[in-house]
Point group: none
Chain length 206, copies 4
DNA sequence: GATGAATGAGCGTTCATTCAT
DNA sequence: GATGAATGAACGCTCATTCAT
């Protein structure tokens, strides 16, 4: 029935609206320093209504986190798909990640070293999903690198470790940039990372 | 006076005892999910006594964090001092860090991505100290690398970026290991990181 | 909207209910010896609810005090307005005050000499309001007496001091009565005060 | 034994020292806002030692209050003894009281309307003693006035009410002065009070 | 006797969640 | 369905008093 569909559509719209407001607030102040009342008033709902869209505060938080992380990983994959050649794809992994961080700094700041929030079932399963997604992403990177290994462009090293190394360079650059955002755009460091990753820091012996 | 000294010594002993118990508990459950009563009972004191050693929960937490971080950086610097040659020193940076993480896994887990706890003065100043210490450590690494750059062992690249890259590889390995501690010892990945960092991942052209 | 109005009305009803219960309890045991839990249970609310009507314990206390004092001063002024002639008005000042004290003995007991409660902003501003109201009341009395001074009924003495003297006689009678409430009604002493105030205690020389 | 005596003397000296410091602190901040630790440190003793001189905080407080009140009443009586004639003695009652208030303003401020502190046995018995002393003082005043009544200097009115009236005028002047201490010395209002009390406020009919 | 560290009951206040309207 | 007032458990922290040294 059309009625049903519209309802469902409105439901999703409202849910998204809440999540967007919640993201801003959580990003600014952290999970524990935010009250449901604040999220309710920021998103134009009553506290009671929040519980129609989410089972509780933890669920709201973890949903927001997971949704946004999914978006990040998807963005990276999309850009990689468009890029060509090994080097092009590696470049895309780096710059898509940086772009996301630049565009969602507040959100990403939630992932700076901080308090371990895991205590309940809900939070635990969120953590597990986050880890699974992270692993998935590493595997995605591995697969890109595998091609390079196979066709001899890259040295024959264990791809999982290679992927971790590449992601480590990306992650550390993002962390440092978030700590001191005054710096120039992160994107400018893409080439440097790429250079280090590909050619190492050591002087080539003649 | 001897009496005074012994008192002071006992005070420090007890303070340390509290910090050690607090570390375990905070590491396991995060700042907000831990109560002063728990820390008190775990360390064999009354809640009131905790306030003789620390001005409050935040102070107890941030003291614990800062003390332990200081220890980590000190450990790394000590090992590096003992090591010889550029490569030896870089190796020491990596393995001392890994060793610390392996020996203090629970503590280090507090630095996995998590909630932004900063809200009060106390927590803010803790954060600032942490960042300052981190920067200091990067500079320490820079200075090691600078030698290599000067004597031609390393390529002539901006040392701050090099230091960040090295630390990024170390950090990411530690994070991944903590997420899935079942893996074999981190120390075994030292050589790999060193290899990647020094020679890059790209096949040398003939 | 009617709905809104009823809500507001109910809010006020409940607030008043809390204030009434709080008055009884505070009057019986003093500010510091009363807990929010007691007030909550006496007024049939949960502790949390109290904070919907008042910002905290101090606010609840000072609101109660100020409201009731306002009532007292208003009562006196109303009675004076109805009375005729200088002497009638002075009589009204005395008897309206006594009546209020008799009807609100517990509340008035809060003003017996006791602990200085002023420490916080809230309590300080309450004290200031109380003093301001008291001064206002003295001025009100002054204005009554001024008429008598002008038309030659009263001796030509400084009205502020006269007002203070009259109020002093009233206050002291009330204090003494509250200390030993077994005595017969205060109202019976009205005439005596009036007599003393108007004619003094000295035998007229012939 | 002499040894015993000296001990006793020292004990009293120390007790008095504590009481003096306690008075300052209580006067400034009120019973509940003062801690035993503060009194201990202000008087140069340990918290434990305080309990050798007083059975607890309440006992310390009530002792201080009673001692000082005794002093006040004694002062007044001493001055009255020296004065001559009814009017002289009444004058002495007024001015000795004012003098005490001026010299011990902080202490007297403890008796401004404020929180009812009575809750425990100790405080209750303090209150009772205070009331008894107050009554005693009123009787003392009565006895002075009785002489005047008998010899025809004063009108033939109930002396208890007369005493209360006189004390009311004194008290109210003191209260008002303490509320707004900027005013000129209270002593200057002595004559006014005397005038009102003796001759009343009403114009004498010819 | 003197000390002051240790105690722990008790407080005001917050906030996720519920449910009568 | 939507509301937001009501709930009440839980927390960090204080401080009078005790007692081992």
């Amino acid at each position: 029935m059309v009625r049903e569909e519209r309802k469902e559509r409105e439901f999703q719209t409202r849910r998204t609206e809440i999540l967007e407001q919640a993201e801003k607030i959580f990003a600014a102040r952290g999970y524990h320093n935010v009250t449901m009342a604040e999220i309710a008033s920021a998103s134009g709902f009553s506290t009671g209504s929040l519980y129609q869209y989410f089972t509780g505060k933890e669920n709201l938080y973890s949903t927001m986190i997971c949704d946004k992380l999914d978006l990040m990983y998807r963005r990276v994959r999309d850009q990689v798909k468009k890029a060509e050649g090994i080097e092009g794809k590696i470049e895309a992994i780096i710059s898509a990640h940086f772009l996301f961080v630049e565009e969602n700094t507040d959100f990403c700041r939630l992932f700076l070293p901080g308090e371990n929030t895991i205590i309940s079932e809900v939070m635990l399963s969120m953590r597990e999903k986050m880890i699974a997604d992270y692993r998935q992403h590493l595997i995605f990177i591995e697969n890109i690198l595998k091609v390079g290994t196979k066709n001899g462009y890259l040295r024959n090293l264990p791809v999982d470790a290679l992927a971790r190394a590449l992601f480590g360079l990306i992650r550390t650059t993002a962390i440092d940039w978030m700590i001191k955002p005054a710096t120039k755009k992160m994107t400018m460091q893409k080439d440097f990372i790429l250079e280090i990753f590909l050619r190492g820091v050591k002087q080539n012996e003649k």
